[in-house]
Amino acid sequence: MSAVALRAEGLSKRFGATVALDGASLVLRAGEIHALMGQNGAGKSTLIRLLTGAQSPDSGTIQLDGQLIAPTTPLEAQRAGISTVYQEVNLCPNLSVAENLYAGRFPRHWTGLIDHAQVREGARRLLAELQLYIDVDRPLGSYPVAVQQMVAIARALGVSARVLILDEPTSSLDQHEVRELFTVMRRLRERGMAILFVTHFLDQVYAISDRITVLRNGALVGEFATAGLTQSALVAAMVGREVVAAARDSRNAGTAGAPLLVEVQGLGRRNALEAVDLHIHAGEVLGLGGLLGSGRTQLARLLFGLDRADCGQVRVAGEPVALRQPSDAVAQGFALCPEERKTEGIVAGLSVRENIVLSLQARGGWWRAMTLDRQQSLARELVQRLGIKVADVETPVGALSGGNQQKVVLARWLATTPRLLILDEPTRGIDVAARQEIMGEILRLAQQGMGVLFISAELEELTRLCDRIAVLRDRRKAGELLAGCDGQQVLDLIAGES
């Protein structure tokens, strides 16, 4: 077996009360492609941030070629020999391809001015190593993302990196581009580079990687040889079998006879989601499963008017409705707890009370304000009901922990007594207790007749909570399963082995 290029041991990182990474280890060998797998919140991004110096670990060590390193900035990591290429290419789109390759180390004339000819030639040579033949004078931004990524990889080559981290590089590439990328990755592997490949596409992992490291809930699940691991076993390792206390006892009771609440016909948007059909009854919890990038979030955004659909329509109680902006959806009695809690959910500077009344107030119009007393009693009631840990409802939301912030966003929507509640990974990145409480509340709400669209990456959550589970794969609907189905069936549908 070839030499170890990078060895990370016992890396831990906590943010406040949440443990993002708990003693994780990783071994990268020279001349291998190593896949890093895990669900949202498994600790993949934290691990990468520690390796690239974007953040420093609380404990643990990183060795590069046997030498201990402790990069404190991405630049230091780069100088040490660890280069990273992100999905969002971290180069300057307005500079030319050649300039992006040489920025920071331009060759000069005797005059002191940049030797453009040499830059151009060097750039062509570097790109030729990746078998990329393009006009290096055009701005980088004028090329497709696939080419931009190649350029980023070429830059890493140019600064002679030992370790290359590819963070979700294939998310926005088409089939052909992925093949091109893989060809390049193989060439680099032959040259002895150690490549860490982060992705959520199972087939790609099997197509290219030699070994796989799986993380779950911030901890190492294990390191596997790709050849010896079935797809289902991999998904099981990622998804886990966590015990969920809350469970739907009277499954499917009455929902069959319950009125149809929302009907989605052929809803889709170019490059985001292919036409999807879906229906939700009152009092039903419809689970939406699928891996990251399968189109789960896109469906929620279309349904809530955050993005406009290119095609299809949505009917509420039989009537077609136009969802041009979120306020339209709110007027229809829809509610959305978004995946990105910090940027799309909470308004950090406002108090708990103000965050909770915001949507109800927005629906009521600006003129009819609720009295302060009414606001406070509503806020206190919801704080108590959801068990939000805060002494005073006038505390700014930014000061709360992640789980409590998520509950505030949920409380905001419960205040509007919605007909349809869309929850996009509501339990992501929050502690176990808060997770159980949120799931218990979802069940209570459904019992009271609310329709719930529950998006989750956790298998256990889906099978125990939902009346029906729709699964998305590759931006289209892969199938639907009824309550009482086996977890294995869902896994197979998600993994595409059916």
Binding site: F304, L306, Q325, P326, S327, A329, V330, A331, L336, P338, T343, E344, G345, I346, V347, A348, G349, L350, E354, V357, L358, S359, Q361, A362, R363, G364, G365, W366, W367, R368, A369, M370, R412
Partner: protein, 340 residues
Amino acid sequence: MRRLFVHPTFWPLAALALLLMANGLFNPGFLALQWRGGHLYGNLIDIANRAAPLALVSMGMTLVIAVRGLDISVGAVLAIAATIAAATITHLQAGSAQGSLLPLFAAIGAALVAAALCGLWNGLLVVKAGMQPIVATLILMVAGRGLAQLISDGQILTIYYAPYAFLGNGFLLGLPFALYLVVAVFIALKLLLTRTALGLFIRAIGDNPLAAHVAGVRAHTITPALYVFCACCAGMAGLLVSSNVASADANNAGQLLELDAILAVSLGGSALTGGRFNLFGSLVGALIIQTLTTTIYSIGVPPQVNLVVKAVLVMLVLLLQSPQFRQQLRMLAPAARSSA
């Protein structure tokens, strides 16, 4: 006591009080008020009266800044409103009877409508065309004075119409009318912001526009409305200014007003990055600026010092708001203490 210090308006008010007290010490007559001919006179009244146009514009600017916007066209809008008011009066005066109030109300109406249109233009450029606020309002800032001069034909329009003078020079129950206007706008706004949900929406948009959008707040309606309001404030200021000097100077009226208004807003403790705003603080900020001007005139220092003082003030306020600067201060403070 601690609560007093952290109250957002404490520091601006303390600064104003300090400034006034210093004046009182150097010049014992400074703080005196006199009752003469049924009117209240004195430096304090004079300061408040002169600060009225800036106070109005500062209130409008506060709300625009609160939603992460900026309006640098207020000076130009003031000039447009003043010119339109003067032109309307000149136009109508000939046709109407002596002492008729029709030209007065027509002038007020025309000026405010013109200002509102300017604001709508700014708001649409920001929201619909998606321009950065400073760029969107730069356009009107550049072209606005040209438009005003187009209306006035490049002349300074003199107003020979007694009723109009009341706006900027008249007294009501012993106090200048302009003060009533400022207080009325302030109270109306305060009611609107606290009794309706508008204040909540504005702070939500300023703090996190995306989250506010997801929560169903209609930022695309509220933001242009605030630009319209800000421009209307500039319009009212234009009425006061042109009435006060009985003329409208399209080229010079409201020169550098946008800068003073931004200064007043930041002095008042609002965050220039949006979200947190303090309407009353901005009023105090406007008063501070005017008090400084009056002080500088009254102690006989060349009035040009005013600009330098303003520059130093704005830098101080900005630095104190900067987290990086505060951190540096905190690091310096213990070092100084241990060395002492």
